[in-house]
């Protein structure tokens, strides 16, 4: 008896799949919801997590970004300046501080070791 039961099951194992949750049956949406901009992070999550509706082809080809490209460009602009400042030597930093108010830059003469003439 047990052998025949096993053979019955093996033919059906691939056929019937049991699913305990309602979520895939009814295509339920993400559980956190925000209206009228009450919580902007949740609204961003809603766009990310919910199954995407039909959109035009242009939208789909763009990658999922959290910040727009313009914001990224602005961020990079200031980033380059701050990184340069970080690695500038002390004298250059002082020179830049003086120049902040005037909009032209003076050439920075690098001090090197001068051999005594004797």
């Amino acid at each position: 008896l047990s052998l025949s039961l096993v053979s019955d099951w093996s033919s059906d194992r691939n056929l019937i799949i049991e699913e305990q949750s309602f979520v895939p049956c009814e295509d339920l949406k993400f559980g956190r919801i925000s209206f009228k901009g009450f919580n902007p992070e949740v609204e961003k999550l809603m766009i990310l997590m919910n199954p995407r509706e039909e959109e035009e082809g242009g939208e789909e080809s763009r990658m999922q970004t959290d910040i727009t490209d313009e914001e990224m460009a602005l961020r990079y602009e200031s980033l380059v300046g701050s990184m340069k400042k970080k690695f500038a030597k002390k004298r250059e930093r002082a020179a830049n501080e003086d120049n902040k108010n005037q909009n032209f830059s003076e050439t920075i003469t690098k001090r090197a070791f001068m051999k005594p003439q004797d």
Binding site: D12, L15, I16, Q20, C25, L28, K36, M49
Partner: protein
Amino acid sequence: FSSEDDDTISLTDHVKPEKVVCGPGLRRSGDRLVVCKSDVLRHKQPNMFWMESQQRRYVPAKGETIIGIVTVKSGDIFKVDCGGSEQASLSYLAFEGATKRNRPNVQVGDLVFAQFIIANKDMEPELVCMDSSGRANGMGVFGGGGLLFSVSLGLVRRLLSPHSEVLSDLQQLFPCELVVGMNGRLWVKSSRVQQTLVIANLLQSCDTMTAQQRRELFRRVAQGAL
């Protein structure tokens, strides 16, 4: 007995070996499908069947996101009350960016939005607050300033269904934030306590109203009392 749908080929014949997904309310017994809940049979293309039943008692199911209340904080795990027959366990490492040194800030009585990774009748259910790649995706501790209440499971499904009327009606009212747990728990927060209470009452009464009554009620609230 087995359930059959008149439009499709009966599942008791072995003519077409197609894959079938049986959802909640249906169970496989041998090579037949058996109904184990009383209600309406639903079908979704191409091959999904389930019983759409109404109940208030939640049974944990793997992959569902729920609102849980932390009851015990012992050692490495938290015990979370999820509305089921026993408490679920939530490891402190199951949060985004949590390490042994960097423990998440979870206290007893906090509300967590988590999903089940283990939920069957033989084992204690387990929750996590991140997905398989380690990102939080909105899960984790939330709360502060809102109101938690419970509704029937049918209302929760109606709220989260793709073209939910209740949700679109609610959208017209006030700016607010909702967290919906599949265990029948809802958490609402709005800019004023009064608005929060109004929304909570509206949602609780949606359970027992027809669509027409509900639309009428929402319209009255939108025009008025506040």
